[in-house]
């Protein structure tokens, strides 16, 4: 069973709600503050991708879903939408920062089709003791 499962309308004002929930989870799990900072930023970027790209503007049921599982010293967070499917994750204003930025903040990240091939999910892994999201050999 997951530690946290959040469902919200995919609207810009709800990105901060997801961020606050994840921050509370990191507090509850005793994550150090620098590791928490990286989680907050990565989750924000993934949720923003859903809000901005996943759904056409007139979609009636545009949903943002965040699920978190804690396994040993790792936190696995998946941000999921049920929208257009594997789109181009370019991050804000086409800067190309989105997915590479998340990759720099996480131990591992995978972008894949959602359950049943519907929508997209971004699956991120964070380590409690690895504030820089470095590879095992210490390089970022």
């Amino acid at each position: 069973m997951s530690e946290l499962h959040l469902v919200l309308p995919a609207a810009p004002e709800n990105v901060v709600v997801a961020r606050q929930a994840i921050t509370g989870l990191c507090e509850g799990l005793g994550f150090p503050s620098r590791a928490t900072d990286d989680v907050r930023l990565a989750v924000t970027e993934a949720c923003t991708n859903v809000v901005v790209h996943a759904y056409a503007a007139d979609t009636a049921a545009a949903q943002l879903e965040v699920e978190a599982n804690a396994v040993d010293q790792d936190l696995h967070i998946t941000v999921r939408d049920q929208g257009r499917g594997m789109g181009v994750f370019t991050g804000a204003a086409g800067l190309g920062l989105g997915l590479p930025l998340i990759a720099a903040l996480t131990r591992a990240v995978e972008m894949r089709a959602g359950p049943g091939g519907v929508g997209t999910e971004i699956a991120m892994t964070f380590s409690k003791d690895d504030a820089d999201g470095d590879d095992a050999d210490g390089r970022a």
């Binding site: 990105v15 800067l95 930025l101």
Partner: protein, 121 residues
């Protein structure tokens, strides 16, 4: 209060946009409006991030867009960022490699003086 404030201030003819609290895709448009308004009024601009507790790539995009406009208009454009490494707001600049792109100062007097002198790089 439903959104963290963005406050426009003036110091010695320089527009200072103060960003307090957490900012993301929801508040980035309001920040963009403030930044563009100052540049359109030909004011050198300081963006004060010292009171910000969170920014993301949406906000970075606004800061970069403002920088481009400021350079086109030959206006000073500086950021105030906390100097300590690892401070959450500084982190996104470091991770994205954008620290060298902006003119960043640690204190307001330095940032105002630099903007006033036309520094934007």
């Amino acid at each position: 209060m439903s959104a963290e404030p963005i406050i426009l201030d003036r110091r010695d003819g320089v527009a200072v946009v103060r960003v307090h609290g957490e900012h993301d895709v929801f508040t980035a448009p309001a920040l963009r409006e403030q930044v563009h308004a100052a540049i359109e009024q030909s004011a050198p601009l300081v963006i004060d991030l010292s009171g910000a507790t969170f920014i993301d790539s949406s906000v970075l995009a606004v800061l970069l867009g403002g920088l481009r406009r400021a350079r086109e208009a030959d206006l000073g454009y500086t950021l105030i960022l906390p100097g300590d490494e690892g401070a959450p707001v500084r982190r996104i600049f470091e991770v994205t490699g954008l620290v060298p792109v902006f003119a960043i100062q640690a204190t307001e007097p330095e940032a105002v003086a630099a903007a006033s002198a036309g520094v934007n790089a």
